[in-house]
């Protein structure tokens, strides 16, 4: 038999349970509380897109910079440098002499040869004249002997004349040989004379890698100094693009917020070889087409980007690529009708640029398709 205490406890528990039930149900509410306006739930609505018509392409961007044309300058002959007037970073004008090879010794040699040739000519003329006078004297003797001498004397006198003439001819020939040798020596030396300067082919900045000192020995056809022509700019793109890529796609440059047309200027074989041998990567070069009066807007050193529109197809139907689904039987989409119902429809797709996909068959412009996650 339960004790009164137990009964009491059971009663209290029952009352508490009843009260709890009432609390949860809110039956005791006395005030009317306005039901808060429910916020439209985000993301519950189906992601969709409309089939549109337009041009499809993918844009690629390649980093680059406006680079001045650089040239390597070298001498045509070996030699030692004379006084060096230029310094790295100096601005020079077109035609200005940059470096000179000391040809003082060569000049001395040429002057010496000139003097020797001149002496040979002068002295030779005098010797010839003396010899002619000697021949004249012998002829006079022959005349005199012919008048009163014996035949033997006449013959001897005639032989003397003949001998003298032969001697003169021989002397002249020998002198001509000597002169020819000297002249040949002069001509060989003179070929290099005057080729001892490097002049600036254009106005620009000059610089060089290794220190150039007076007295330094330089070799022919080895670059000793470089020049940059800031008036001759190209957009050098750090990535190598093939001729085919460039020919098949539309390209343009973006420089300082402006768009510019460009013309492809392929690297020469020598340039490519020089890059590879120096361990650098191949690049691509473009000439920027400047609008009239627009040359001031750009300068060497500016950052630029080459944009390439690839895979262009014009006037096609497109939908976001996320709307295209695939199954074993092919591609399909879900068309969302006016009633909101989604209906599966098979489609035939074309090119895609990673964002949108061309619809070749299966959809009409203006239709709405479901776009999946």
């Amino acid at each position: 038999m339960s004790s009164p205490t137990d009964v009491m406890k059971r009663g209290i528990l029952c009352c508490l349970a009843a009260g709890l039930l009432l609390l949860l149900s809110g039956c005791g509410a006395r005030e009317s509380v306005q039901v808060p306006e429910l916020l439209e739930p985000v993301g519950v609505r189906t992601d969709s897109a409309v089939v549109t018509r337009g041009d499809l392409y993918a844009t690629k961007a390649y980093e680059g910079a406006l680079t001045a044309r650089g040239v390597e300058l070298s001498f045509e002959i070996d030699g030692t440098l004379a006084h060096v007037d230029i310094y790295p970073g100096k601005w020079v004008q077109q035609g200005e002499v940059l470096l000179t090879i000391d040809q003082t010794d060569l000049k001395k040699q040429l002057d010496d040869l000139t003097e020797r040739i001149s002496y040979l000519d002068e002295h030779g003329a005098i010797e010839d004249e003396i010899a002619r006078l000697e021949i004249e004297k012998l002829r006079l003797t022959l005349e005199w002997v012919s008048a009163q001498g014996s035949q033997q004397q006449i013959d001897l006198a005639a032989l003397d004349v003949e001998q003298a003439e032969l001697d003169l001819l021989s002397a002249q020939q020998n002198r001509a040989i000597d002169r020819s040798a000297l002249q040949r020596e002069y001509d060989e030396l003179a070929v290099d004379y005057g080729k001892n300067t490097i002049t600036a082919p254009f106005s620009g900045h000059v610089f060089y890698e290794n220190a150039l000192l007076e007295g330094s020995y330089v070799r022919a056809y080895q670059p000793v100094v470089y020049m940059a022509d800031p008036a001759d700019l190209s957009l050098i793109v750090t990535q190598y693009l093939t001729d085919r890529e460039i020919a098949n796609n539309k390209v343009y440059a973006l420089i300082d917020g402006q768009r510019y047309d460009v013309v492809y200027d392929p690297l020469t074989r020598d340039e490519m070889t020089a890059l590879i041998l120096s361990g650098q990567s191949l690049t691509s070069r473009f000439r920027v087409v400047m609008p009239e009066g627009g040359e001031e807007a750009v300068h060497a050193g500016q950052y630029g980007v080459l944009c390439m529109e690839t895979g262009l197809v014009e006037d096609v139907l497109m939908i976001p690529s996320g709307a295209v689904l695939a199954s074993g039987s092919g591609k399909y989409v879900y068309v969302i009708g006016e009633d909101g119902e989604r209906v599966r429809r098979d489609v035939q797709t074309g090119r895609s640029n990673g964002i949108d996909t061309v619809i070749v068959e299966g959809l009409e412009e203006g239709e709405t398709v479901y776009v999946g996650e």
């Binding site: 009260g19 429910l38 916020l39 609505r45 002496y119 004249e129 300082d256 060497a300 996320g322």
Partner: protein
């Protein structure tokens, strides 16, 4: 006792029931209706907008005075006597730098001088003798009555005159040769003082002991002119023509000046060097302080007016870049984009978004 306790317990029971009945009525007042939020997610967003994309590079710099001339000794072997200029001296073109004692062949010099003197004397004597002989011959020819002898005499006379010309030519050449040799020898002797070729500051003095031999083409010192100042930068891969900012000075008083790169290896594709020369627009901060803490900064990337979004809005999935757009009606769309360039803070969008589009940040 048990009866009164029962009353108390019943009273407590009734009160408990009443309390439980009243609570629900207040339940609604325990919850603020405004705090009821049904299915709303608050995103951090960004708006696609046109702006400037910049990436900077920096490198260390140092003063560079390019007009530096190395002074060489040119001449016959000499012995060091004394330095006239010292390291750090400011000199002008033509100022003496060093004195040497030229060691020349005195015997050779004397010999040449003697030869020259004799040659001239012999020349004068030879000409006089020949001229006298010609005069004598002339007199004999004039007095000759025999036509043959007269004819021969005239021819011989003419020969002697020509021989005199030849003699003069030979002697002139010989004397000129000796004089030339003497001139060369004297010219080398004159280099006992070496002078500064340009204005500037003397540096890199070569060390010589007393009377140490100095030979032709020995480098003596360098003279650096401060007329032209560049900043030589390294480590930043700066481009020719690029505009840069140069910081100079002590840490508590840094000064920034603008400048432009006037020499860099990028114009010659085969050159691989990260050194560049910069011409500062204002060189006074470099002259006022000799502190060598120089930093050069430039923009390796500088794109204006491009469509940008926050980097946090872009995710990578399947090799493609994805953003989640948020429309005005609160719908999210996952969309692919084509990115041009990505920095830690921003992404340049080439395709896939329009200006003004809202994207959700991750």
């Amino acid at each position: 006792m048990w009866v009164s306790n029962r009353r108390v317990r019943r009273l407590a029971l009734v009160l408990t029931v009443l309390l439980c009945a009243a609570l629900p009525g207040r339940a609604s007042q325990l919850i603020d209706p405004e705090k009821i939020v049904a299915d709303e997610v608050r995103y951090k967003t960004d708006t696609a907008a046109r702006g400037e994309l910049i990436r900077s590079v920096s490198g260390s710099g140092s003063r560079y005075y390019p007009k530096t001339e190395t002074v060489f000794y040119r001449g016959e072997m000499a012995l060091f006597a004394e330095w006239i200029a010292s390291r750090g001296d400011t000199v002008k073109a033509g100022d003496p730098l060093i004195r040497v004692t030229v060691q020349y062949d005195a015997v050779r010099l004397q010999e040449l001088e003697l030869r020259l003197q004799r040659a001239k004397e012999d020349y004068a004597e030879g000409v006089k003798t020949r001229e006298e002989a010609i005069l004598d011959m002339q007199a004999r020819v004039d007095g000759e009555s025999d036509p043959y002898a007269r004819g021969m005499g005239q021819l011989s006379l003419r020969q002697e005159e020509l021989r005199l010309e030849a003699y003069k030519l030979e002697q002139d050449a010989s004397i000129a040769s000796i004089e030339k040799a003497l001139d060369e020898l004297n010219e080398r002797r004159s280099h006992e003082i070496v002078y500064a070729p340009i204005d500037g500051v003397v540096d890199d003095l070569a060390y010589f002991k007393d009377s140490e031999p100095i030979y032709d083409w020995t480098a003596l010192c360098t003279i650096a002119s401060e007329d032209v100042l560049f900043v030589a930068a390294s480590g930043g891969k700066f481009r020719y023509g690029q505009e840069v900012a140069v910081e100079v000075g002590p840490a508590r008083n840094r000064v920034t000046v603008t400048g432009r790169v006037v020499a860099a290896a990028d114009v010659i594709p085969s050159l691989d060097s990260d050194r560049a020369l910069i011409l500062p627009d204002d060189r006074s901060p470099f002259d006022e302080t000799k502190n060598n803490s120089i930093v050069v900064r430039g923009n390796s990337v500088d794109m204006k007016d491009v469509l940008l979004i926050s980097r946090k809005a872009v995710a990578l999935g399947g090799g493609k870049y994805i953003v989640t757009t948020l429309t005005d009606d609160g719908v999210t769309h996952k969309r692919f984009i084509l990115a041009g360039m990505i920095t830690p803070q921003e992404v340049w969008v080439l395709q896939g978004l329009q200006e003004g589009d809202t994207v959700i940040l991750d």
